[in-house]
Symmetry: C2
Subunit: 114 residues, 2 copies
DNA sequence: GTATCGTGCAACCAAATGGTTGTAGAACTT
DNA sequence: AAGTTCTACAACCATTTGGTTGCACGATAC
């Protein structure tokens, strides 16, 4: 079930902010491919466990990943719905742009009449 | 002519970072619709001229907008190519996700044989 | 020529970010 | 029961961010 709720400005801020870091983008990639524990993620980067933990927390607050307990581990799973929502935001910009193009085209048509 | 060059990690960082602020997203929207001077933008927000100037600078470094002199004003123009590039980045995540789905489907098919 | 407008830039400040180490507890292993 | 693994969280630190004010300067208006 896809939860389709309105995104607040803060939601959008958190999503793009979370994506503005190469390590976090890599975490999203990995956890979209398969569920990965936090310590498995930590092994993949040359920073402390706590640092990776913080990155995961940022992604979690942006709902770009979810965490679910499995024994003593926390499995991190990428959330494709959220990615799609971000994509749609950029599509909206695309629409704004197209409307400008259309207006410029209309102006050209008017000129054509003169 | 659309310049189609490879985006570095830092480029991507700057793009998403720039989009992670509501004021900056609004500036992008406005300047996609029509060219707007920096002072016109400044009038639209309840912050100092210098603050708006800084936001424009962040967008400019991310190449989400360009600035061109017109008399004493600097006209800010949104760059739709850059938006599209950001969109494409998210599409790549989409592909990663689909490949996972496909693999899970393949597993289900194997189960079906048993 | 003088005043005003639009801009750029520096200096400053508080808060957020991205990293560290250390401590503690829950869940497995032996 | 004791040791190890995985996680959470706090405290700390340097840097970046997002805002401010003030000043300098080119372009326009009077």
């Amino acid at each position: 079930m896809v939860v389709e709720l309105e995104l607040s400005d803060d939601d959008v801020n958190r999503i793009f902010r979370a994506l503005a870091d190469a390590t976090r983008r890599d975490i999203v990639r990995r956890t979209l491919v398969a569920d990965v524990s936090v310590s498995q993620l930590a092994d993949a980067y040359v920073m402390s466990f706590a640092a990776v933990q913080k990155h995961v927390a940022v992604l979690e607050e942006a709902r770009l990943v979810t965490k679910q307990p499995r024994g003593r581990e926390r499995m991190v799973r990428g959330n494709p719905d959220r990615i799609r929502q971000a994509q749609r935001l950029l599509t909206q910009f695309e629409h704004v742009w197209r409307s400008r193009i259309d207006r410029l085209d209309a102006l050209l048509d008017e000129d054509h009449d003169n």
